[in-house]
Amino acid sequence: METQPILQVQDLYKYFPLPRDILRYLARKPARYVKAVDGVHFTVSKGEILALVGESGSGKTTVGMNVLGLQKPTRGRITFAGYNVAEWAEGLGPSLGVERLENSGIDLARMSRRERIMALRERALMIFQDPYESLNVRQKVYEIVAEPLVIHRITQSREELEELVRSALETCGLVPAEHFWHRYPTELSGGQRQRVAIAGALVLNPTLIVADEPVSMLDVSIRAEILSLLLSIRQEQGVTILYTTHDLATAGYFTDRMAVMYLGRIVELGPTRDVLLSPLHPYTKALISVIPTPNPAQRNKRVILHGEIPNPTDVPQGCRFHPRCPIATDDCLKLDPQLRELTPKHEVACIHA
C-alpha cells in the first residue's frame, strides 16, 4: 500500500455556538459553544481504511462532515489530495493549489466556485447510515445510480451511462444489473438497498468515502457482506475509507487503523489489531470490555462506566475523561493529556498509560 497521505486533518476544531439566552446577553457573558470537535489530528494514507469510533456525542460524525467540506472548521486545516478542503468547498482565496499533489489533474485556481465544489464532491463522498432513508423511494435504482453521473456530466452518451451504472451495480453484487435497475428501493431488502447506495457513491470513482455507520441498520447476517464489499472496493479501486461507527467489533474486521474518540478528541490511535487486543486508554479498555460477545463463558468481566458522555459545552478540566475514569488520580484533573506514541504507531492520550 502507498503511504502517501491522501487526507490530513490538523488541529481540527468545530464549535457550534449555542443560542445566547437573554439573561446571558444582558449579563454580557460570552456566547457558549458545543465543542463537538476539540483538537483532532490524524492522517490517512491512500487506500487505507481508518475507523473513527466513539459513542454518540464523541464528534466522529462532525469530523466526517468537515472532511467532506460539508461544514467549515472553526479552526484547523483539512488537506485532501493536496488541497485545503475548507477553501476547496468554499472556493475561497488565492492560496489554492499550493500543496497540490502531482497528477491529481485538478487545477482549482482556474475553476469557478461551482466547479470546485463539484470537483470535491466527485472525489470525496459519503455513504449514509440508513438505506431506508437515504434512497429516494420515487426513483428507480437506475436513476439513483445514474444521477451522480448526470449531475457531474461524466458520460457522453446513453450507452456509456448505462455501462457505468451496470458496472457499479455489478461491482456491488447486484448481478445481473438489469434485474435490479428497474426496481424501486421499496422492492429491495435492506442489504440490497445499501448496495445501491454504495453503487451510487462508487459510480463516480471517488478517492475518499466517508462511510457513516453503513451497516448498523442491517441484520447481522448481511453486515459481513457489505463490509467485504467495502474491502474489495478498496482493493480494486484503491479507495480510501473513513469508517465512522460506534461498533468496535465490525471495525475490527476490516479497518487498518482505528481512532477512538471521546468528547471531541482522539484518545487512542493505532493499528486496529493493537487497539483491540492491547488497548492502552482506560476508555478504550472499558468500551471493549462491555461489547457483548457471543460467548457465555466470557460473562461478567465488564468494566461499566457510569454516567454518560458529559455535555460538550462544559468539557471537564484536565483530562476530559477523568470524571468517568476508573483509574483517575489528582494529576488527571490538572493535566490535559495529548496523544503520544507509546508503542510503534500506537498513540494514546493518558498520563497513566
Partner: protein, 322 residues
C-alpha cells in the same frame, strides 16, 4: 418450573387483499420461573410477532391461528379481554421496542408512572402514588427528584430506565423486553444490561428478551431460542447454542457475529435474504440459504429433533453427521 409455556403457536397476518400470511408457525417454548430466555433472529423472522401474540396484542390484521399460551397453567388464549388486561402489567409486563421514544413529551416522567399505577389500581392516594413512582425510579438508578422532569431532559439511557421502571410498576412476574438496548450506545447498553440482571435477581423476575443481538443474549440469558422464517430453528441452553450449535443457521449466524476479542477470525455472511412470507420455501425455511442443504431439505419441513433433553433443532441433518 415453567412459568410461561407457549405451545404450537401459529400467527397469521391478513394482507390487504385478504390473503393470510403465516408469520409464525408452530412455535414452542418454556420460560422457567426466575429464568431468562432469549428469542433471537433477524428482522422479519417473527420474534416480535411471537411476543405480541402471547400478550394478545397483535395488530388488527393479525390473528392467532392455533396454539396455547399457558401462564402458570392457565391458557391466556381462552380468557376474556378484561381478564387478559389484568394479566398484562400485573403478571406479564413489557418493554416495547422504541418505547422510550413514546413517552409523552408534555408530561413529567413521574406523572406517567403514576398513571400506570392508577390505571392498574395499584395505589390509592395521589401522594402515595407519587412516592411509589419515586421508589420505582430509584430502583432503576434514577434519583426520585428527577421524576419531576420531562422526557426531553432525560438522555436515551435514562428514558429506557424510566420505561423499565414503568413496566415494573405493578410488580410483574415476567418482564418481556423487545430490543431493550437497540439504538443505545454500547456503554449505555451495558448499563441497561446490568440493570436488567440486577432487577432479575432482586425481584425474582422471569425475563423474556426479544432481540437480534446474539451478544446480549449470551450475556443475559439462560436459554436461547433461535427463530428463522417464523419457525423455531434451534432452542437450547445458551452455553449449548454458543458452543455447540447444531442448526446450520445458528452456526452461520454466530460466524457472522463479530467478536471484538478476535478480530482475525474472518467474518462470514449468509448469502441471500430471509424468506418472504408470501413465498415461503416448501421444505426447510432456511434451505435456499443453507450451505449444507440436501435434496430432502427442499421437500419436507424438518421436524424438531432432540439433540439432548434440553436441546432441540429443526434440521434434517441433526443426528446424521459423522
Amino acid at each position: 418450573m415453567a412459568i410461561l409455556e407457549v405451545r404450537n403457536l401459529s400467527v397469521e397476518y391478513l394482507t390487504e387483499d385478504g390473503v393470510p400470511l403465516r408469520a409464525v408457525e408452530d412455535v414452542n417454548f418454556c420460560l422457567e420461573e426466575g429464568g431468562s430466555l432469549g428469542l433471537v433472529g433477524e428482522s422479519g423472522c417473527g420474534k416480535t410477532t411471537v411476543m405480541l401474540g402471547l400478550l394478545r396484542m397483535l395488530p388488527q390484521e393479525g390473528r392467532i391461528v392455533s396454539g396455547q399460551v399457558l401462564l402458570e397453567g392457565q391458557d391466556l388464549l381462552q380468557i376474556g379481554e378484561a381478564k387478559m388486561r389484568k394479566v398484562r402489567w400485573k403478571k406479564m409486563s413489557m418493554v416495547f421496542q422504541g418505547a422510550m421514544n413514546a413517552l409523552n413529551p408534555v408530561r413529567t416522567i413521574e406523572s406517567q408512572i403514576v398513571e400506570a399505577l392508577r390505571i392498574h389500581d395499584i395505589v390509592g392516594g395521589a401522594s402515595e402514588a407519587r412516592q411509589r413512582a419515586g421508589e420505582l425510579l430509584e430502583m432503576v438508578g434514577i434519583s426520585a427528584t428527577r421524576g419531576r422532569e420531562h422526557p426531553h431532559q432525560y438522555s436515551g439511557g435514562m428514558k429506557q430506565r424510566a420505561i423499565i421502571a414503568m413496566a415494573l410498576a405493578c410488580e410483574p412476574h415476567i418482564l418481556i423486553a423487545d430490543e431493550p438496548t437497540t439504538a443505545l450506545d454500547v456503554m449505555i447498553q451495558a448499563q441497561i444490561l446490568e440493570l436488567l440482571e440486577r432487577l432479575k435477581e432482586e425481584l425474582k423476575l422471569s425475563l423474556l428478551l426479544v432481540t437480534h443481538d446474539l451478544g446480549l443474549v449470551a450475556e443475559v440469558c439462560d436459554d436461547v431460542l433461535v427463530m428463522y422464517g417464523g419457525r423455531v430453528a434451534e432452542i437450547a441452553r445458551s452455553s449449548a447454542i454458543f458452543n455447540d450449535p447444531v442448526h446450520p443457521y445458528t452456526q452461520r449466524l454466530l460466524q457472522a457475529f463479530p467478536d471484538v476479542k478476535a478480530p482475525d477470525t474472518p467474518l462470514v455472511s449468509i448469502p441471500g435474504s430471509p424468506p418472504r412470507l408470501d413465498a415461503l420455501p416448501p421444505g426447510c425455511r432456511f434451505e435456499p440459504r443453507c450451505h449444507l442443504r440436501e435434496d430432502i431439505c427442499a421437500q419436507r419441513i424438518p421436524p424438531s429433533i432432540a439433540v439432548n433433553n434440553s436441546h432441540l433443532a429443526a434440521c434434517h441433518l441433526v443426528g446424521r453427521e459423522s
